[in-house]
Amino acid sequence: MKTPHRVFVCHETPCVSLGAESVYSAFREEIDRLGLDHVSLEISGCHGHGLCSGGPSVVVEPSRFFYNGLRPEDASVIVREHLNHGRPVQHLFHRDAQTGKSVARYVDVDFYQSQERVALRNCGRINPESIEHYIDRAGYGALQLVLSTMTPDQTIDIIEESGLRGRGGAGFPTGRKWRFCRQSPGDQKYVVCNADEGNPGAFTDRSVLEGDPHAVVEGMIIAGYAMGASKGYVYVRAEYPLAVRRIRKAIKDARRRGFLGREILGADFDFDLRVKEGAGAFVCGEETALLQSIESERGMPRPRPPFPTDSGLNGKPTVINNVKTLSYVPVIVDRGAEWFRSLGTEESPGTAVFALAGDIRYSGLVEVPMGTSLSRIIELGGGIAGDRKVKAVHTGGPAGGSVPAHRLDTPVDYESLQELGSTMGSGGMMVLNEDACMVDIARFFMDFARSESCGKCAPCRLGTKQMVTILTRIAGCQGVERDLELMRDIAETMRVGSLCGLGQTCTNPVMATLEHFEEDYRAHIHEGVCPTGACDVELDGSHVRAAPY
């Protein structure tokens, strides 16, 4: 009898775009041709975290041999040699970009060694479309534990003690949010998973949904039990069709297995989930806009208070949590609040997941304990490509800011990043080299905010437009010194005066670049050139300042 093998072919967006599907079929054909019944072929979520650009990647369990950059013809070689004869194919192993050495096994990849995979615990290790795989890895155990031994309040206690903070960006203590909702009077309550991930440059939530959807489902059921909610919605971007399909399937399978529906696992608790697809609006990540959107309206935020925990969907108490926040819940229940607190920092326990991109050798997901420094994360990503130097690291997307190279010792946690004018955001981390122009970066994010502003409130609707006009003028070297002050003034009004988080935070990239890279602005204004040549704008008459200042 041969040792059973499981082959996981990554089926996430990057690998698929690099040809994962034909690699999968090639495996299938060859396995079938040879009639290898000790081998099961599975699709999986991303295992090449940080290595996606080298995909498609394949992991062969149980020993977790790691192949990367495969072509279909490589598949038959692996089947014949490795699976049939037990001879791993060395020349197809993943190669370390720095050393050029091939790395046989997953765990040997440097990229993973400093990672602490909590949110991503199952990604790449199970077939996300199989509830059995999830259950095999202790899935739905936390739910059983909660339903059979804990009261709703005790459930909230654990989450509260764990110190878990929302991974959607603002870092609000999850336990406290649940408590508010639990205490808010209402016959009907809702749990909503925010899987909108509209932040350009972040795809951490997508990876969890595509790679481990049941973790989110289980987290939501536990949340529902804790809050006394009987209904939940997963609001997911329609631009993530694979994630949509997987979460739908997960819900269906969970329902079939009795984890959703009436009297779950025999307890006096009914809960069910539905999926609502977004339709392309970044602002719908904002919680009140998200609720509007679930209710099939324009995603225009409403004033808070009332907060959703008092008046959310349908006017009923509603908890909204990020995908990762929810996926932590089952592990925290399983392994305890203490364990979770042992990771990360005092104020920010647990791990952080980042989508590392930009001028970095390995772009992809990294999960590290909170408090890890930015420079360490860059190291994990194989450093910056070529012989360039890091100029800045931008975190937090359109609501974030750029941390200058000399501050890369900054630990990643909510407070430290905030001090530098950046944010955790929901996990985008963009490494910029010296070729980047910070005026261009600021203009890029502001233009994004302009195009995504819902237009409801005046400071944001008008402010984003004004800011883009000014930044474009500066980028086109027509700016004047006075523009900088005007931008600061407008930004301040937008920050304190806008109705929702979009308008309040979208000036961060501008403010942060003005603070740390003012020289880039001055170069455009006083020297009349973009120092790196990145600013590529053609001005027309409308950009020449007309109004008397």
Binding site: A238, G278, A281, M300, Y362
Partner: protein
């Protein structure tokens, strides 16, 4: 039926009726209904909007407001091939703008438009989650990574060929 011209309003109406029937009893079905209409017809013809409005008890104008709010929903037909350039951060810093310009040049249209022969539509999209391969171009549902203006030319030439 996707993208077909000359499809009669009557056919649209039946399609829309079916979709509405499927969603009967659901809470807040509008966006899902619109998405399905778009999926089936290729866009959301303004003439079916009053029908949806009537069934769901919403004003036609409100529905138009929803359609124009969400970048994914369209009230005009699209080209047979939809090309979307990613305007996410990673794609931007690795040359997304140049790629977009190349696409515009190659197709002779700007974003939001379709070519005269309705072969192509050009759109932009915020991050598709393949930043590692930036800059990305998405043709219908396939992601093409590490694009350059040269690759753009090849992509369009290849796609233009009858297959």
């Amino acid at each position: 039926m996707k993208g077909e011209t000359g499809t009669s309003t009557e056919v649209f109406r039946t399609v829309v009726q079916d979709i509405l029937d499927d969603h009967a009893g659901e809470s807040w079905p509008l966006i899902a209904v619109l998405q399905e209409i778009q999926h089936r017809i290729g866009y959301i013809p303004p003439e079916v909007v009053p029908l949806v409005a009537d069934r769901l008890g919403i004003f036609p104008g409100e529905i138009q407001g929803v359609i124009t709010f969400y970048s994914q929903l369209r009230d005009r037909p699209q080209g047979r091939t939809v090309i979307r350039a990613c305007r996410g951060t990673a794609c931007h810093v690795s040359g997304g703008t140049t790629v977009l310009k190349a696409l515009q040049g190659e197709l002779g249209i700007s974003e939001g438009e379709s070519t005269a022969d309705r072969q192509y539509s050009l759109e932009t999209v915020a991050c598709v989650g393949a930043c590692g391969l930036a800059p990305n171009v998405i043709v219908d549902d396939d992601v093409f990574g590490t694009m350059t203006p040269a690759k753009v030319r090849k992509l369009i030439e290849k796609d233009g060929e009858p297959s």
